[in-house]
Symmetry: C2
């Protein structure tokens, strides 16, 4: 896919220029977008039917790259929520250049626009409660949104709210397919047609235990 827009707060810019871990985190997430492909090295979207494509395949493409190539984890709970809120979608701890690890949370928004507000707020709570050092959100651009299942949140729709992010290290990516093609296969809606895969859940210890259990 293509990264069309990037919103980067000043604190995020500062981290990027001063901290290798921050740079690496941004690169990994950017790579997961750019290398997400469904046809050769490209992501091609059928744009003949409004709301014709599901969004799960797009999300899973990015997450696979993050989990398998870059060792990100999924479903990191926040202690601040005391089990009353859902986990952070994707999470990675980069080895600390100083004492502590550099902790990054990511949400890929596939729900409607109000869900995008919740996703953004969840990352903000993570940062304010000092459980995350940086937050990232990714969303389809409006041009792409027209061909995705109904009311998926888009970048432009949430853009007027970016002012709420400006004091914390936060990055929002707006993406679109590499190209549109009337002959491309439609992306399945919901989870149909998705090959089953076990996600890499946080914390890492649990996964190691799971793998051991399976190997026996």
């Amino acid at each position: 896919m293509r990264i069309v827009e990037v919103f980067k707060t000043v604190p995020a810019q500062t981290l990027e220029t001063t901290l290798v871990s921050a740079q690496q985190a941004i690169n990994e997430v950017a790579t997961s977008i750019i290398e997400n492909a469904n046809l050769g090295h490209e992501f091609v979207l059928n744009n003949t039917v409004r709301e014709g494509n599901g969004v799960v395949r797009i999300k899973d493409g990015c997450y696979r790259i993050l989990e398998e190539r870059f060792d990100w984890y999924r479903e990191k709970p926040l202690h601040a929520f005391k089990k009353r809120g859902g986990p952070i979608d994707a999470y990675k701890e980069f080895p600390g250049e100083f004492a502590a690890p550099f902790r990054v949370g990511l949400e890929f928004e596939t729900g409607n626009v109000s869900s995008a507000h919740r996703a953004m707020n969840k990352l903000l709570v993570g940062i304010k409660s000092e459980e995350l050092d940086m937050g990232m959100l990714m969303l389809p651009m409006k041009t792409m949104y027209d061909y995705l299942t109904g009311r998926t949140a888009n970048y432009e729709e949430i853009e007027p709210y970016f002012t709420l992010l400006k004091d914390v290290p936060f990055i929002v990516f707006g993406f679109a397919p590499d190209r549109y093609d009337a002959n491309a296969p439609f992306l399945p809606k919901g989870k149909e047609g998705m090959s089953k895969r076990s996600i890499k859940k946080w914390p890492p210890g649990d996964n190691r235990n799971n793998k051991k259990a399976k190997q026996r």
Copy 2:
């Protein structure tokens, strides 16, 4: 109804103790909850059927008091959104004790929990863009929510996010009915059974013009 919980940030507390307008705004909104009644002087909810009651009647009861008794307005657009976001639900400008008026925005959340995030963020944008001096949000308590139409946001559900409000003047009210009664009439769902009334839309000038037009 009853006010069961009030979350008040430190900046809101400071305004309340130093500014008569802020005190008055808080009192008016609190009154609109307390005096919202459907049976005599009480608000009585039928609690025999889960999700058995609509929520529009509750919202309209509060808004009627705010508009008719306290001269609040509805649907105040924010300039920060440049027509890309919806208006603030309810709004009032109190005569300034100093030079400028004291401007208060209110949202009554009847959508699902992610809509409550949007409502909260909308008020925050209004405050950050200096179009509002204080924001208020009201929500049913979880005990009441069980008997309201599916997935209505509730106070407890959004409470873990109140940390995002703490630097700005913001108040959240959690309300519940005065009592439950198995014989109380169910509240209509959607707008059915609601008497039509014209809301007092912001800005005031437009309404005065409307009234004059009608009187002729």
